[in-house]
Subunit: 230 residues, 2 copies
């Protein structure tokens, strides 16, 4: 008797390849975020410019992975956990593309920021970037390895990111009121907001990882309604 | 000979019901945005509070529609256009849930805003809300009716929304620098940004509508990289 279509070796290869491509895309998105932060911290105008045009690979991967998911669904008609993995890949693909967009937003805000003298030494924002990048990396690992403990760990870190962003906002609002450095302070506010949103996308990915394994939809349970406030 | 599983009347009923539920969700999201704007314009504290707790229906629909898509894929294994409609529904569902989140963000910023006297008469922000809500409505209609002309029309309107947001930012930055009304002006900036993001989600939905009909992936073609700047 033949194996059902979704259990062929070919199908498993395709599934492994889908996950591998998502990891490549996550790596590309993470690199864009890292470069954007380096441009900000090192005041490196040329690097910020490179970030602005550096999303071509991510955009190509976005289309390729979407098509790959579509083909997998059409040709192999996966069920149960395999189906969840593919549907989650569609969503994670969107999340990663948004992360790439936020990296560009950070690059754009950085270019404006570099037109002015420094508002203040940058401490909390690079910390936010470290947290967001770590969350992203671990969320992808959790999805690929179906590791719910790691996924839950990503969710737990989102609070520290939100807390840092609130702190950055309070600090910079003070600067805006007292020093008249409105535009550069606003750009830092925006950057911290973009970083926090990257953490939100990592959180989405981690929730997908948990959903695949447990079938338990943890979204909208025990979390405040709405995206973060500011 | 039996019809293939994905052509049974039952399947068509399920597909029609899926679209109907997405329209209900879009209506609920739009209502939250409308109430949040009314709270801002009318300085209605109680209404802003209601928006903050008014996302329960949207969250329930988010989970229900996701599950509905999953069941459709698992039980009926749709192909071709039907498969695209279901995969798009997964994405549109996420977009609508984000719109609901932004309505809450607007409600939160409104509550802070109402603690201060008015910064200025609100003209451009209500206009932005009208445009964003119209885009959202039409994007859903374009998806449900597979109307690519209407979908393209939604994409075209996104530029006017972006332009208005840039104008609001310029105006309010002036206020922040000259009048020291930093916090309320910042809250209006955030609200205009949320509205512009709602337009982005409407744009995503319109792109899905075009993709279903044409199979042509118009994302990442002829558009500036990255989400809007500020």
């Amino acid at each position: 008797m033949d194996a059902p279509p979704n259990l062929t070796p070919h199908f498993h290869d395709e599934m492994a390849h889908l996950k591998a491509r998502l990891l490549v895309m996550a790596g590309a998105a993470e690199e864009q975020v890292r470069d954007a932060m380096r441009a900000l911290v090192d005041r490196d105008h040329a690097m910020a410019e490179r970030v602005l045009t550096g999303d071509e690979a991510i955009n190509q991967l976005h289309i390729e992975i979407d098509e790959r998911c579509f083909q997998l669904l059409a040709l192999h008609q996966p069920v149960a956990t395999d189906l969840r993995v593919v549907v989650s890949a569609v969503k994670i693909n969107s999340d990663l593309e948004r992360v790439g967009d936020f990296a560009i937003n950070i690059g754009e805000a950085t270019l404006r920021y570099l037109e002015h003298p420094s508002v203040k030494p940058l401490v909390d924002i690079p910390r936010m970037a470290d947290i967001a990048q770590g969350m992203l990396r671990d969320a992808l690992d959790a999805y690929v390895r179906q590791d719910t403990v790691l996924a839950q760990n990503v969710l737990d870190r989102d609070d520290s990111l939100d807390g840092l962003k609130d702190q950055v906002f309070r600090d910079l609002l003070g600067f805006m009121c007292s020093n008249k450095m409105t535009q550069p302070a606003l750009d830092l506010l925006l950057i911290s907001r973009h970083l926090e949103r990257i953490g939100d996308h990592a959180t989405n990915i981690a929730e997908e990882a948990i959903f695949i394994v447990s079938g338990l939809d943890i979204r909208h349970h025990g979390r405040e309604g709405g995206a973060p406030t500011v």
